[in-house]
């Protein structure tokens, strides 16, 4: 969804004033991208939707503390999502270590199952295998490389914005992107 310039900042001010309609509008604007990003980072569409919910609950509670000098509303929302994803991955690792379940990544296929349902049947059939291979290659990337690549590809963030969202230097963010793209290319045999 195309976001008119300055709209999200206006929405955040209204959310800070307690206007729920502004939150609903922000969810319509940023929700799909956030849910897709988190879903692909965690390998589960359901987890992605839950993370998106958590992001908007936090935005509702902390909208008054948003500082435009530190970045855009989109960057803030994706920073929250990234931290929530890291928390979930950490908990999943502990669960796996304790033998309590598969944790994040268990629903890796779930995100793929629902993809591309709007396309025609022929295109779906032709692209399904290719997309499955890309998803598999994405899931095989190191988590931070996957995050950087998804931030660039799904949310269209620049290297500097990715660095700010992930809390790394700009050079590190660019390195993550280069490695992620070349890793994905190698896995896809291109």
């Amino acid at each position: 969804m195309q976001i008119p310039p300055g709209e999200t900042e206006t929405l955040i001010r209204e959310i800070a004033a307690g206007r729920e309609s502004a939150l609903v509008r922000l969810i319509a604007v940023l929700g799909p991208g956030l849910a897709r990003y988190a879903g692909r980072v965690l390998g589960s569409a359901a987890d992605g939707d839950e993370v998106a919910q958590d992001v908007f609950v936090r935005i509702w509670r902390e909208a008054g503390r948003f500082d435009p000098a530190r970045g855009s509303v989109q960057a803030w929302a994706y920073r929250i999502a990234t931290n929530l994803c890291i928390d979930r991955q950490r908990r999943a690792r502990v669960r796996r270590f304790l033998g309590l379940g598969a944790g994040a990544g268990a629903g890796a296929e779930a995100a793929g199952e629902v993809a591309d349902v709007a396309a025609g049947p022929e295109r779906r059939l032709a692209g399904r295998e290719r997309l499955a291979a890309v998803r598999q290659a994405l899931d095989a990337l190191p988590a931070r490389q996957r995050m950087a690549l998804l931030l660039a590809a799904v949310a269209d963030f620049s290297g500097a914005e990715i660095a700010s969202i992930m809390g790394v230097s700009r050079g590190s963010a660019e390195q993550l992107l280069v490695r992620a793209r070349s890793g994905l290319r190698a896995r896809l045999g291109e």
Binding site: A28, V57, A153, V154
Partner: protein, 89 residues
């Protein structure tokens, strides 16, 4: 080259997202009162704690004035075998 990879990643991440459902869940969550971490203080047994404390505040000085409590407290503090040993109180 990078654009092609990014396009593939975008396509791989693409899926329908029900923003209406996300919105309803978020509105439900923000409408719910925040978790009450001190609810246990208002529970039945916890209410007896201040009552018992007040009772002790009154009972101990009264018992000390009557003369019985001082010996009892001293005996417990010193480990009097009459009180704490086998067959003791």
């Amino acid at each position: 080259m990078d654009d092609e990879i990014d396009r593939l990643v975008r396509a791989a991440a693409d899926r329908p997202v029900d923003t209406g459902a996300i919105g309803r869940a978020v509105l439900d969550r923000i409408a719910a009162p925040p978790p009450d971490l001190f609810a246990w203080l208002r529970s039945g047994p916890a209410r007896l704690v201040p009552v018992a404390y007040l009772a002790l505040l009154v009972a101990v000085p009264l018992a000390m004035r009557a003369g019985g409590a001082e010996d009892l407290i001293a005996a417990v503090a010193l480990g009097d075998p009459m009180l704490t040993g086998p067959g003791g109180l």
